[in-house]
Symmetry: C2
Subunit: 104 residues, 2 copies
DNA sequence: GAATCATATAAGTGTATGCTTATATATCCT
DNA sequence: AGGATATATAAGCATACACTTATATGATTC
């Protein structure tokens, strides 16, 4: 739940790839494993780390476990970054465009 | 320069603390060391990691080296995060307030 | 109830990380 | 030039990390 956990979780390329796939929609562990040349326990361990960092959430469905993004992690990332908004890119326009999208 | 380097750099509490101090204004390595119960080489190594991740920039001034935040790092963080704007906190108001501040 | 499937946990291993002390390099001062 | 100051680099060490194989747990299916 700490910032350190959050950044550490995202510091691994495999975990960022897993996270990115989950952004497209929830998925169980077996489906997530596809495309990674890695053992099942390895993925399971990565998922545990993402989960305890607050980046993903899980839901048991029978013998499957569905994983989805937990917005809390992104929110905390966002919060950390907002401290440094003085250094954010000058493309405020882009941010404005984004806001417009969110309003719709 | 990679995302992995970026997240790894920020995954260490000392480095985040250094970064945070630099957000208040540029500082040389000796000044930065104050408040950290750590050897000079340790801080120097942390600075090298932050630098190669693109998070800080350095400028030699005689025998001193001035460090300051490099906006590129924050920009790349921001860019990474923007991929997941669908999961951003709903407090759009806060973001709007921020934008207003930036406009002024 | 036994075999199978989905996932997690345990234990072990090589490599990376964050420190340390010792030393090098470069600048400033007298 | 010689000593002090500011910083970086080298080498070494203990701990953390990302894997592996083997095994456990629990849900399904036959």
């Amino acid at each position: 739940m700490s910032d350190t956990e959050l950044f550490k979780a995202l510091a691994d390329p495999t975990r960022r790839a897993v996270f990115e796939r989950l952004a497209d929609g929830e998925m169980n562990a077996t489906a997530l494993r596809q495309g990674f040349a890695m053992s099942q326990p390895a993925i399971s361990q990565h998922l545990a780390i993402l989960r305890s960092a607050g980046l993903i959430a899980e839901q048991k469905l029978g013998r499957n476990v569905m994983y989805r993004i937990n917005p809390d992690g992104i929110a905390r990332m966002h919060q950390w970054l907002s401290r440094y908004h003085a250094f954010w890119p000058k493309r405020v326009d882009e941010l404005k465009r984004l806001l417009k999208e969110m309003d719709q």
